[in-house]
């Protein structure tokens, strides 16, 4: 993870936010929910709280806008740049802006929340069947008033559950019209309008008067997008018109004809050839929740991460069941500390008899025999906070701590600890680093400024690090990355050396700086090792896994992901 220069962060934990406007793509209720869930992502792992306010100046202002939207960083139309946010601070700092040329959804296609009807505001179910015909979008079929509707189950004929779809005939949003529907025709600047218009505005939003005359009443609202509304193009927000003609041919659905990029488009009038009005058809869209969670990360002080699976990685990727990545957790907790976490679950009654505090009085209570063996914390790898060393030996991961070690079994966490002295009697109890040379199969152990070399049961050592050519100021070796060429990299925090195993001397040109050659991992890792061809850098409870191309591909928990603790 990365934080902004100077570790910019809020100086208080009770953060306020305000939603300044809404997107025509998503119902305001769905938007409110998406933002609330996005904030919860961060409040779940920190002491931060987020409160929505409607008046006054909040810490975080949230707005939707297109192109030039009031700050020095214009948006770029559909796709490309989706949103941006500013690090914590006053004024525009902390604010999050979303590009309204995108098709905002929850990541899997248009979200159509119904109103009225008998489905209590449920989302449309596409496709649905009505009078034996299948519909993939809202329809006015069966009605004569022009209102579009949908079924909220797969089959209207059977379930009869329905609601009305967003349209300007149903409601408007924002503005000062109290959400009233458009009144058509309406008068604006002396002209009559019979549909939503962008006239009089420079931001591209479609609006209408909620009375018969805007000139007289000055009441207006913005038009929600219909589920068939286009994005991009030159008719943003207008619905597709089917059938339409393009180069003389009639189209009854969206098409990619005429485009090299295969994107689906439609005309928003009955003739593209004549009117040249068009836009892209609704696609999967971008998840407002996921993008908002990312942007709020910036608003709280996180910069972009290099970890591809992290929320703070700069590229958008839809994930169905979102979970905050350990890298993001590390970042936000670096700034704000950990939260109090979930409430503890009351312990279940133990089957194990509790020893009496005063053993003098014999108990008359009959106790069941103990079936659960007690676990000595010192012998349980799941109780270990930080291991002394971790290494792959004979293809099996070994965890070392305070004179014992555990071998990772095929499944589940290690069960039995083994005294180090049983297997390698010459070693001390505190081991800093272990590695097995892939070629010679020799095992090297490091403790302080000493090291040992085991070949089977034969031991060499202890010998001093001086023998390897390491300076006196190297107090210990904290990790090792083995290679198949007879070389091994020895790490001591911010520096590392390359050791030639055969000659047992470090190569010229070393030490080098860890952070220069291994970007994206902690330079103060206390364990470094290779497991199944990947490099692992451990710090605190976490590990950073890196490919041989030095690409960080995962950040995980040592306890859960490596030791496999429940």
């Amino acid at each position: 993870f990365q934080t902004f220069e100077g570790d910019l962060k809020w100086d208080h934990n009770d953060i306020t936010y305000k939603i300044l406007n809404y997107s025509p793509d998503i119902d305001p209720e769905v938007t409110d929910d998406a933002f609330a869930r996005a904030f919860k992502v961060w409040s779940d792992v920190t002491p931060l709280t987020f409160t929505r306010i409607y008046d006054g100046e909040p810490d975080i202002n949230i707005l939707f806008g297109s192109d030039n939207h009031g700050d020095p960083y214009p948006f770029d139309g559909k796709d490309g740049l989706l949103a941006h946010a500013y690090p914590p601070g006053e004024g525009v700092q902390g604010d999050a802006h979303f590009d309204d040329d995108e098709n905002w959804t929850l990541g899997t296609g248009v979200v159509v929340k119904t109103r009225f009807g008998n489905a209590e505001g449920a989302l449309c179910h596409f496709p649905f069947v009505f009078e034996g015909q299948t519909y993939n979008s809202c329809t006015s079929a069966g009605r004569s008033d022009g209102h579009i509707w949908c079924s909220t189950t797969a089959n209207f004929d059977e379930d009869k559950k329905y609601g009305f779809c967003p349209s300007e005939l149903l409601y408007t949003y924002d503005g000062n019209g109290n959400g009233e529907p458009c009144v058509f025709p309406f008068i604006f600047d002396g002209e009559s309008y019979s549909s939503c218009t962008k006239e009089g505005r420079s931001d591209g939003y479609r609006w209408c008067s909620t009375t018969a005359s805007y000139d007289k009443d000055r009441k207006y609202g913005f038009c929600p997008n219909r589920d068939t509304s286009v994005t991009g193009g030159n008719a943003q927000g207008d619905p597709c018109v089917f059938p339409f003609t393009f180069l003389g041919k009639t189209y009854r659905q969206c098409t990619s004809d005429g485009r090299d990029d295969k994107k689906l488009w439609c005309a928003t009038t009955s003739s593209y050839d004549q009117d040249r009005k068009w836009g892209f058809c609704p696609d999967q869209g971008y998840s407002l929740f996921l993008v908002a969670a990312h942007e709020f990360g910036h608003a709280l002080g996180l910069e972009h991460s290099s970890v591809q699976d992290a929320l703070m990685y700069p590229m958008y990727k839809y994930v169905k069941d979102f979970e905050l990545h350990p890298d993001d957790i590390s970042g936000i907790q670096y700034l704000y500390g950990a939260g109090t976490g979930p409430q503890p679950t009351p312990p279940k009654p133990s089957k194990k008899p509790v020893p009496a505090t005063t053993p003098s009085t014999p108990s008359t209570t009959t106790t069941t025999s103990t079936t659960t063996a007690s676990v000595d914390p010192a012998q349980d790898p799941c109780k270990v906070k930080v291991f002394d060393a971790i290494a792959e030996i004979q293809g099996v991961l070994h965890f070392f701590k305070d004179g014992v070690y555990w071998k990772l079994p095929a499944m589940g966490p290690p069960k039995t600890s083994i005294p180090i002295s049983e297997t390698w009697p010459a070693l001390p109890s505190n081991i800093d680093t272990v590695f097995q040379d892939p070629q010679s199969k020799k095992i090297f152990f490091f403790s302080g400024r000493k090291f040992w070399q085991y070949t089977g049961n034969t031991v060499l050592g202890p010998r001093s690090l001086d023998k390897l050519g390491l300076d006196k100021d190297v107090d210990k070796i904290l990790g090792a990355v083995t290679r198949n060429n007879g070389k091994v990299l020895l790490f001591n925090g911010e520096r590392y050396w390359r050791l030639d195993v055969k000659s047992q001397t470090v190569d010229k040109g070393y030490p080098r700086n860890t952070d220069e050659d291994f970007a994206g991992v902690p330079s103060d890792s206390h364990d470094v090792f290779v497991y199944q061809g990947k490099y692992y850098f451990c710090q605190d409870f976490f590990f950073w896994r890196m490919t041989w191309r030095k690409q960080v591909e995962k950040v995980g928990y040592v306890k859960y992901d490596l030791v496999r603790c429940p």
Binding site: G80, A83, D99, L247, G248, G258, W265, E295, P314
Partner: protein, 87 residues
């Protein structure tokens, strides 16, 4: 009315702004997200290679310093507008 000479591919109005060469697109991206200084000159090519390498490293791509297919795909993918490097 239809035209007699139907073009094979239609350039829509808003496509004009994205009608840049891959190289121009890459330069725009590198500048926008902080990998490349704004100034251009004799060192442009050197700067481009260095900037591409920096970007590839940051994004976890293979560090070729070239505008390869993987890099171009990343450049054309949706993303956050906050710069990756610098303020």
């Amino acid at each position: 009315p239809t035209t007699n000479h139907k073009p094979l591919s239609v350039i829509f109005p808003s496509d004009i702004r994205s009608n840049l060469s891959d190289l121009e697109t890459a330069e725009k991206y590198l500048v926008r997200y902080g990998y490349m200084p704004l100034a251009h000159g004799e060192t442009t090519q050197v700067s481009l290679r260095r900037s591409l390498t920096m970007m590839q490293k940051k994004m976890g791509l293979k560090e070729t310093g070239q505008l390869d297919a993987e890099t171009l795909k990343t450049i054309n993918s949706p993303r956050c507008g906050v710069p990756d490097v610098g303020k």
